[in-house]
Amino acid sequence: MKVFRSHLLLCGGTGCHASGSLEVKKALLAELDKRGLADEIKVVETGCNGFCAMGPIMVVYPDGVMYTLIQAADIPELVEEHLVKGRVLERLLYKEPATGETIPTMQEIPFFALQELRVLRNRGIIDPEKIEEYIARDGYAGMAKALTEMSSEDIVKEILDSGLRGRGGAGFPTGLKWKFASQSPGDIKYVLCNADEGDPGAFMDRSVLEADPHAVLEGMAIAAKAIGAHHGYIYCRAEYPLAIHRLNIAITQAKEAGLLGKDILGTGFDFDLEIYQGAGAFVCGEETALMTSIEGKRGMPRPRPPFPAVAGLWQRPSVLNNVETLANIGQIILRGAAWHASVGSEKSKGTKVFALTGDVNNVGLVEVPMGTPLGKIVFDIGGGIPKGKKFKAAQLGGPSGGMIPTQHLNAPVDYEKVAELGAIMGSGGLIVMNEDSCAVDMARFFMDFCQDESCGKCTPCREGTKRMLEILTNITQGQGKEGDIPLLEEMAGIIKDSALCGLGQTAPNPVLSTLRYFRHEYEDHIKNHHCAAAVCSALFKSPCQHTCPIEMDIPAYIALVRADRFEDAYRVLLKTNPFPSVCGRVCDHKCQSKCRRGKMDEPVAIKFLKRFITDNAPRPKITAVPVDRKQKIAVVGAGPAGLTAARDLALRGYKVNVFEELPEAGGMLRWAIPAYRLPRNILAREIDDVRALGVDIQCNTRVGKDLPWRKVAAEHDVIYLAPGAHASQKMDIPGEDLGGVWGGVEFLRDFNANEEAWLSGKKTLGAKVAVVGGGNSAIDAARVAARLGAEVTILYRRERKDMPAAEEEILAAVHEGIKIEYLVAPLKIQGKDGKVSAIACQRMMLGEFDRSGRKRPIPVEGSEFTLSVDAIVAAIGQVPDTSFVPEDSGVSVNRWACLDLVPDSKSQTTNPKFHAGGDAVTGPDTVIAAIAAGHQAARDIDASIRQSAGEPAWEAPEEEKIDIPLVIDEETLESPQTAMPEMAPSERRQGFAEVELGFTREAAIAEACRCLRCDIEI
């Protein structure tokens, strides 16, 4: 192996890349080479060290000297001084701020501050292998008190009064258990500790045993005194070698110190205990099975009664408690029942330790008072969900438990509430799942676990779990059948009622719980073979394609980019998407959120590659399709939904007339999205292609005004209504009708219609503009206003992370100098001479979670303030204008002004002659959703026409075959997504030129090589 005298660790995190670490690295390598040091000194690029503000950062080892804010120009001096002369270059040295005040205290970190440490009170503080340190923190003082000052009845009463309930899951009152055992006759009794923590995702007990083993021993000795036992076992799973090791040390030390064994502390009380190592069977967590296992047999449960308190281990009265329960005991005896009951909820006292894991930022052990809201644990203590993903559910109670979804984030976590929500408290595994988890797959996962761990003694569990697993597996593999869901429910009921032990009785819980909250996912799998989380891989080729609303063949066009076959790639795009150059710019790219590459580092830049193809390959020529069908179709609205339907129907041989109210086609693409995001000529090119097929688009024609509804209906066989949602929602505050108050889309439409007047100053917003809202329209309006020279402030009532606008848009707005005020809501608009002069606002703070899983903003009293402005743009949402639909048309319009569809159809309105789609049906949604709606409508319209004429279904003409190259890299190195080159922010505000400049050929091919080709089965 080569030995280097020095390692230079250069941070290669995104932050440092952004501040120029790549240039620094290049300069560094060149300099080392120049000085012949390349063989002695190694440059290593590291991951982000979280100190991005001081980047680029380099640490020189072995000296451990850290340099910050390095520029490429500094390199020659740095190498000369430090690496050649061995002197630290003071100029770039990181200097500690004088006071150190910048470091937060533990109490300033919510993860620690919001916890209530009782069971975990010694964590990280004592050395678990030194009994003195435990004693120093009042260890064994509770036991001393119990042995010297208390009778058996006193102890039982104290524990009963404390309200302590079994932490292993079922929540049976510990005092009651002890009472029964203490009242059972017999000289020989046993105290058992259940440390067979088998729930996947739970590690509370392991952690307690490793960090504070004596607390468990102390609890057991007190229990022994309470019930009159002199012998105990700790049943610990073999998978926890460190816990067993530390327990052994603890037991040895306690015995040597006379804290276990004969005549403890000179009180005359004897208690001895040993560790029993489990051999890997989940069922042994069940109390009777655990006892059978200690007896040296197969760990199968036995029917109760008799209960263990009467006839337990070797038929002797026994008490079995879980590790966490026992770790509570010493402190309760020492500090009293009232102290324990001082925290918690009405029926669940004290604290609970959770193992917080899964898709959450802070993974670890969390001890909180019983009744702490779930959302507080996940978001405040856990720090929320990584990578900006959405919370889906928290899984409590492992394979015996259930999921608690978004709408119950405010639920207090205690035994009663958790059970009411269909989960169980369990031993404390709390697994956070984000939107990338599939409910059906999780149910299958847990059923697989239970089936595997079923001991086989009783039929309902042995056979029932097997059969349920089969059904679930079928559903996840696309072989689900109508009737599977009721069958699952029926079987779940039977197993729950008839299984012998807890494992069997609770095995159906995950299925019942997911059916309760995520039934639609089961239905989606069964009926549509669709897995919204893109997990059930038997249902699709690749997750990106499966997630795309129009199922674009993403792996194919990316492979073609890699192969330098851009023209073929373009043809692949056009197979499913009539607007690829539009989508390459403004699509919300859901595909990227499920990209497998994203699990490794960052998703492939699918959207940018799509744009690259349309920018760089010649657009395939379109030829008109002859009209060979007699039926005529009208489309109302020339937005993406209407035009897609028109195109598809034209391809099927229909004559299509499109009627558009505005002067040009394109809908929101033309009239709301500004040209700096979507240049007009790019859009026009795609619309021209629709025309070229033979579709007739009549602009300036509002149906119901310029053209009577009845006439359109009479002259066409089917009408597709896709008018979009072009009216802004009102803020509903006083002063909204003053001059200078705009709706978001109205402002954008006016600007796009009268660009010249706005740019020449004939029309103006004024110097200061407030934009209200946090969606893409709000950002669009703000960025347009900024380009018109205004000083713009966005007012948003929630936090940044709750903004529905695309992250890159928000960033761009900030870069362009737009100010965003978070947690602010407008109260009133003030005016002078009929024109707006100011907006009165109020600050908000965050309250409980709402149904969307975001914290609800609530007003802060007395925080009112006024912002003087010349114009206000309210972009808080859009509604369709469906006033052109006559009441007697038979087409039903609902109270949100949206068009109703009949059940079981994805496009048909209440009048079979009329179909509808796009924003006018769904409310404001994305471009790609509108395109999907257009495809859907065309399929439905064509199918219904052919069906009523008794014709066979349409068959698409054979497509030309494009062969897709298959190149898979042997090894994949981590590398971030290729960044999109952008115009400098200072230049952007000068005009409406496109901000994003597009990939170069090299960048595109490099980015395409990042695709893992997870669509290929080898």
Binding site: H7, L9, N49, G50, F51, I57, V59, Y61, P62, G64, M66, E96, G100, I103, P104, T105, M106, Q107, E108, I109, F111, F112, Q115, E116, L117, R118, R121, R123, G124, I125, D127, P128, E129, I131, E132, E133, I135, A136, D138, Y140, A141, A144, T148, F203, R206, S207, E210, A211, L242, A243, Q253, A257, G258, L259, L265, G266, N362, V363, G364, L365
Partner: protein
């Protein structure tokens, strides 16, 4: 250890308190490596080794190493606490042998907190 009587518990408590407060002898710094399964799995053992080697090489005798269990925040492991007598303890996160060497050289020996690696200062409060 001899068999204890009730009164011994209190004596032990007082004695250890004196020790853990670092007032005894010539101990100047206490470094705690948090070693639960999670900590070890993410490399706490290597961190401990590096620390011991550093202490040996530097020849200092006033630094004491202890180990303890998991501190709770597994996702930031390995965690190390450096406590210089009379000052607030400093908790370092994502420690590796290289960072440990740097922390030892610059914080333990020179008293200069290595802020970029710090999780927090102070300790958890048990109510």
């Amino acid at each position: 250890m001899a068999k204890l009587k009730i009164s011994d518990l209190k004596k032990i408590k007082e004695k250890v308190h004196a020790e853990t407060a670092l007032r005894e002898g010539d101990r100047r710094v206490r470094v705690t490596v948090h070693m639960g399964t999670c900590g070890i799995a993410s490399g706490a053992r290597e961190v401990l080794d590096a620390l011991m080697r550093e202490i040996e090489e530097s020849g200092v005798s006033d630094v004491v190493i202890t180990t303890s269990g998991c501190m709770g925040l597994c996702s930031r492991e390995p965690l190390v606490t450096v406590e210089i007598i009379g000052r607030e303890p400093i908790k370092y996160e994502y420690v590796n042998p290289n960072k440990m060497r740097q922390i030892f050289k610059r914080h333990v020996l020179e008293g200069e907190v290595q802020t970029p690696f710090v999780l927090a200062r102070g300790a958890e409060i048990v109510k």
